[in-house]
Symmetry: C2
Subunit: 192 residues, 2 copies
């Protein structure tokens, strides 16, 4: 909307564009203050700035990827992250064939430099893209290196202290969700 030069946007328009309702948009935003203009809507540029600050993206977040395999490499080439406020600074891998290369402009470093470089580069978020079997071990090292958040692609439970935020992305789980919806829409539940 900023790019299109729109000045104002109503809660109804925002709701439309994001699959929710106008009341929901207003209620949600009101949790962070009241910065709309009655009779007008929200000033687009101000709203953008507010959301940026609510999300903690006033400065770009510094991100590292651990595991430069299939999914890890794909992420290293995911250009859109920059425009959403994230910079992938560095990647790590244990495979000697991968270490030392540069993938989509991002250097792949060996695991023995992990803690040192996470700290030196001021990494705030680690994207975990190793096999599930080693995810816990990597998470431990990342935690002790003082990183603030982990986004894990490994579908394994991670035991962490409360000192960092953890989220998962699980493709199979989403497919299961789709499968459930599809079943519900057609057969209903099929007896086992």
């Amino acid at each position: 909307m900023c790019d299109r030069g729109a000045e104002l946007v109503s809660s109804a328009e925002l709701a439309d564009g994001s699959g929710t309702t106008a009341a929901q948009v207003r209620k949600d935003l009101s949790n962070f203050g009241s910065f709309g203009k009655r009779g007008q809507g929200y000033a687009v540029e101000e709203l953008r700035a507010r959301l940026e600050s609510i999300l903690g993206l006033v400065r770009p977040r510094r991100v590292a990827v651990v595991g430069a395999g299939k999914i890890g490499s794909a992420l290293l080439g995911y250009r859109d992250l920059t425009s959403r406020g994230f910079e992938i600074i560095v990647a790590f891998d244990i495979d000697p064939d991968k270490v030392g290369r540069t993938v989509f402009g991002v250097p792949v470093l060996p695991m023995n430099e992990l803690e040192h470089r996470l700290a030196a580069d001021g990494i705030e978020i680690v994207i975990l893209a190793t096999p599930p079997a080693v995810a816990q071990e990597v998470a431990n090292r990342v935690t002790s290196a003082g990183v603030a958040g982990i986004l894990s692609f490994a579908a394994s439970k991670l035991e962490t202290d409360g000192s960092l935020a953890v989220r998962w992305m699980d493709v199979a789980l989403e497919l299961e969700g789709l499968s459930f919806l599809i079943s519900a829409a057609t057969n209903g539940v099929e007896e086992p």
Copy 2:
């Protein structure tokens, strides 16, 4: 648990392993019938079978990937999907350099064969991994081909009729969530 040969599992154990509470597990399962054994727990093998049938995964679901780029190719090599009940049968791309090849054992076909092959191969779910700009167009074609669900990696709104289920996976959105949690844990919201 089946592999480990466990016979029975309690709601408390299930809760433990999945980050929820025992009461929640029981309430959720009770929505689909009552198949636990009082005093004992749930029979592991029966529970597996029930969940499989609830999720509609008694038979593997047939999946196609559209867009064999960075993320699309990674998915074609995602072996764990098979064990979770999904078979990636085929991929499609518009780039002549990609069409005709086989990526991780999956053939990449040209877009002009899309509708025909989706139908011929009995594809139920399409994973959308094209640039966002063409996602809507592809979604339209996929819809009219009678596919039942779409999992989109493109962070663009898709307009679809109610005939299919749609889900999104948005890496940047998850990172934004992490960033918010991190901010909340440290500064609080920073003024814009």
